[in-house]
Amino acid sequence: MSPFRVALTIFAATTAAVAQDDWASAVEKANTHRRFAVRRAVSNKIAKAGDAAVPALRDFERSRSRNEIDLMLVDSIARAKAGGDATLELLESWARDRDFYWRSQALGGLAERKVESARDLFAAATTDPSHLYRVQGARGLIALGGDEGIARARRLLNDSDSRTRLRVARHLALSGDFSGLAELARGLDRDEAEFLGDPWGQRDAKLAVETLIEVAEQDFGWREARGDRDARKVAFQKMRGWIESKLGAPLADVDTAPAPPHAGGVEIRSCRHGDLFVRWGESAIHFGLEAPRSVPVDAATMRELRTQLKTALTVGGQRGKVVCDYLRLKDETVEKHVKFAPLRLPSPAAEWLKALARAVEKGGEPELSNAILDRLPQFAEATKK
């Protein structure tokens, strides 16, 4: 018997509640049930109900908090395409709320439905600090069409974040616009990119592959290649060849320089402020996922910082409930690795990050220093009185 059986009794009760059109109860379960599969199933039912479930969702966010709404529920509603005016109003209110964790997904729901009245919102989103929000803004503009909107979306093919460039290229390609094909090739090139142990490049490569298979309507030998490293590379070459044939020109060589030597780093995932990726070495601090911007720091300062980190970072594992945003801190020299939820970063670690920011400022990069400092309040523990 599989472990799933343990959820079935609970699940039966859950679905019975929905069958009675008790949307308040369903919304409660979708947001709070401890079982992922139950939340998913109930979320899908709510999403398919469209406008009928919206009053219960509004009641929930009024009586609790908008940020207690589960990502899966927002995601399900965004993808379902069901619903009328009440659903659109709900999605728009979520998408416009800068403090709502899942505003990007809500904006995606408007893009999915090609909501013309959201055109200005889509356009404004393309300059948002959150890369996911920028992508959904572009997606909406691409879905609506029109020269001005498409031009604005295409501008994100030069975004500073390669994840944005790839995703916008995907949405353009899926709409028949191949102006971002080179970015899909770069997505393939990132297959082995990682950040502090997270193989993020693989996810980008997978997205690029899925896009290319769909738009080219061919497999490139991918299905057979998935489990084999060398065969993957052959499939990638075929995909690059297809892109070059479409572009009518060879793809430019891409800088695939390895990650800078580093002894640790911090990853801040923030839908509100945008993500930040920082690594430090013996005499420099590097910002960015790839092709990092490096700030020189004298070796003595760096040694001191690294020594201080050993005492500032005393815990490991995960601290607090991570829904989406988190701050991950890793000291590779002592293999200490911890992920903090918002408001769970202890004072010593927060102070250490401020010291890191000061070193960056001394290195002549106040903007990058502020990039760290601006994100800390979201994660720092409240001071105990």
Binding site: S2, R5, R34, L71, L132, Q318, R319
Partner: protein, 135 residues
Amino acid sequence: MKLGLLTALLGTLVLGGSDDPTEVGFDVLAGFDYEEGMELPDEVTKLDETKVTVRGFMKREDGGDGATSTFMLISDACGCEGTPMLNEFIYCESEEEHEIDPSVVTVTGTLYVGEEIEDEVVIGIYALEVESVGS
């Protein structure tokens, strides 16, 4: 070491000896567009009730911290781009409790493949009886 980790995460499918676990990755497990009621592809059904090793990120079902005997194994630590599809996570159950590790972990155990259905709704495809969790 990093290269080794990445190689493992590429999902190299290596059929070992009879006692060796099969190394399987999310590129195979999630490598098809899942639709409810579909016939699952051979490359995943052949793994049913076999011993496997999978690399991925641990996540408690409620996102919380603390030791747990049940967790999801997923390929994306953030999940902000959307919740995993039913073929993008493995529901893991262990006799021991494990702390949620922010690093990529290796989980070994017996994999069960197939739709678990209740009241006409699929609640999962992959379940793993965990024998060990390592780095």
